[in-house]
Amino acid sequence: MEDHRGVAIESEQNLVDRIEVMFRRGGYEVQREVQLLTRYIDLVARAPESGTVLAVEAKVRNWREGLRQAIVYRLAADQVFLAVSTRFVHRVNHDLLSSFGIGLIAVDGQAEIVMPAEGSEVIHKSLQDELISEITSRGEA
């Protein structure tokens, strides 16, 4: 779909589609809309061998709102990313993301990690167990 200038109108759905492709190519198991407490993580990727769990919050342009969500995911996922359309990624405050250890993915035709995430130091075991249980049971379904 395009706007009046002929520019493709992005949706979060499109962003998540491309992020999923990126992680699947990297050998990750991927699930979408995974519940954590009262929220839904846009995408959860799990490395089959190491078991490392990554969480991704995608927003076309509203990176601050995305950051609010991503901050919570640090309690359950080993690494957390914020994903934003490449058109708007220049607006993101890298230092702020960095202060939370959150990485950044830019998405246009494909998704690319432009800032790596650090390992979360604030894991809540009860939440991580719940998240792993959720993705495991969905994987078996």
Binding site: L36, L37, T38, R39, R64, L67, R68, I71, V72, R74, L75, E121, V122, I123, H124, K125, S126, L127
Partner: protein
């Protein structure tokens, strides 16, 4: 029987929502002044509530919730049938309520013919007041036979009968403004009730839209119309203290201060910290649920079963859902509360340094009972602070807490602080 009067200031009333609330209140009798029971809950849970009121010996009053009769009947329905609690309640409210409750909403002309109350209006007034007086009164016959039996056994009655309600509320209806017919109806019902029950403490409920706060004329009219009653209950529909503008907060202050200045006690039927700050002047108080219910839209459906547990964040004076509380306290454990409940949970889990693991275990232990107790204790401490400190000290503490949260960008955690600044400004104005 002598009716207990509210303490000087400030009064904290809690709306009984679910049976589990009893245990929370019983555990901390010094943390609150009294309870409020919605009429349909009163009639439905008469036994357990009556027992609780008798044993707690706390003042109480019944909210007749008559406003529902003039709104969408769906509000009283569940799956197209009248909720059982309302099915039990409405016959107590007279002919009109029995006939139309749940099927069509009342019209102002049902109760008011333009110059006086109709017969139905008068009957509604008498029925509603009588219901509040009688709902928890044990059958006289049953009481006497129980007394004789107890005397034979030479035993004391295990539970005292509840005292009479602290105050009685005439039928009230929601009005968009003082120009609304329903405003006139409610006011006349209040006057009629005051005359018909002249020996009783009749406190009308003023139930109006928040748009009234935008009109100085409306505020003046409300004050003129209601200042001569023994006391008033105030409900500004859907007024959320944490979201409202400075102007509306200031208007609420003008309204409640206006009642205080005319020596008319007031109770905010759905109030939070900001209304609490206004209670210091005179006999006045606030009602809320235990960790919910500081704001209510008249058109909101009444739900059963209470609310999901939330953690009260003392520094922002707001409730936080689990995700917010966990994230905020993990990154900023200095904001963990040190009330008796929180300290007791920390002791129980054997907490050392307040790292993520401890916060995880702390909040896992916290649902749902301790969360409500924590709110109760914090609200009681806030009431004490408001009572003992000067207005300026309260304002200063709001500003300080605003700055503390601003410094750590608490908005990123969905722990908002902007309202603290607005409250401080409104209290200063």
């Amino acid at each position: 029987m002598t009716r207990q009067q509210p303490r000087e200031t400030p009064c904290l009333f809690y709306r009984l929502g679910v049976a589990a609330d009893r245990r929370v209140l019983q555990g901390h009798p010094d943390a609150y002044s009294g309870v409020v029971i919605n009429a349909q809950i009163a009639i439905w849970g008469k036994n357990w509530i009556g027992t609780f009121l008798g044993s707690s010996e706390k003042p109480y009053f019944v909210d007749p919730v008559t406003h529902l009769l003039a709104l969408d009947p769906d509000l009283m329905l569940r799956k197209e049938n009248l909720r059982k609690s309302f099915e039990k309640l409405l016959p107590h409210y007279g002919t009109l309520a029995s006939k139309f409750g749940g099927e069509r909403s009342f019209r102002s002309e049902d109760l008011w013919d333009g110059s006086r109350l109709t017969t139905d209006g008068e009957e509604l007034s008498e029925s509603v007041i009588t219901f509040q007086k009688e709902v928890f009164r044990k059958e006289k016959r049953m009481q006497q036979s129980l007394l004789r039996y107890m005397k034979i056994l030479d035993e004391k009655l295990p539970v005292a009968e509840p005292s009479e309600p602290l105050l009685l509320i005439p039928p009230y209806f929601y009005a968009e403004s003082p120009d609304d017919d329903w405003y006139r109806v409610s006011l006349n019902l209040a006057h009629f009730s005051s005359e018909a029950f002249s020996d009783e403490a009749i406190w009308p409920a003023i139930c109006v839209s928040s748009a009234c706060l935008d009109s100085p004329r409306a505020l003046r009219r409300i004050l003129e119309d209601y200042s001569d009653f023994e006391g008033v209950l105030v409900w500004i529909s859907a007024f959320d203290e944490t979201k409202e503008s400075f102007k509306r907060l200031r208007s609420l202050k003008l309204l409640l201060d206006g009642f205080s200045e005319s020596d008319t006690p007031w109770i905010s039927l759905y109030g939070g910290y900001f209304a609490l700050c206004l209670t210091r002047a005179q006999r006045s108080g606030i009602v809320s649920g235990i960790s919910y219910g500081e704001s209510k839209d008249v058109n909101a459906r009444t739900t059963g079963g209470g609310f999901p547990p939330r953690y009260y964040v003392p520094v922002s004076r707001t409730m936080a859902v689990s995700a917010t509380a966990r994230t905020f306290l993990t990154d900023h454990p200095a904001f963990l509360c040190n009330c008796d409940v929180c300290n007791s949970v920390l002791e129980r889990i054997g907490a050392g340094k307040l790292g993520p693991e401890v916060i995880d275990r702390f909040l896992t232990e916290f649902d749902p009972g301790p969360a409500k107790q924590h709110f109760l204790l914090n609200r009681a401490m806030e009431a004490e602070t408001v009572h003992e400190c000067s207005r300026q000290e309260v304002i200063d503490s709001l500003r300080q807490d605003y700055e503390r949260l601003e410094k750590i960008q608490s908005g990123l955690y969905e722990v908002e602080n902007a309202h603290l600044g607005r409250w401080a400004r409104a209290l200063t104005s």
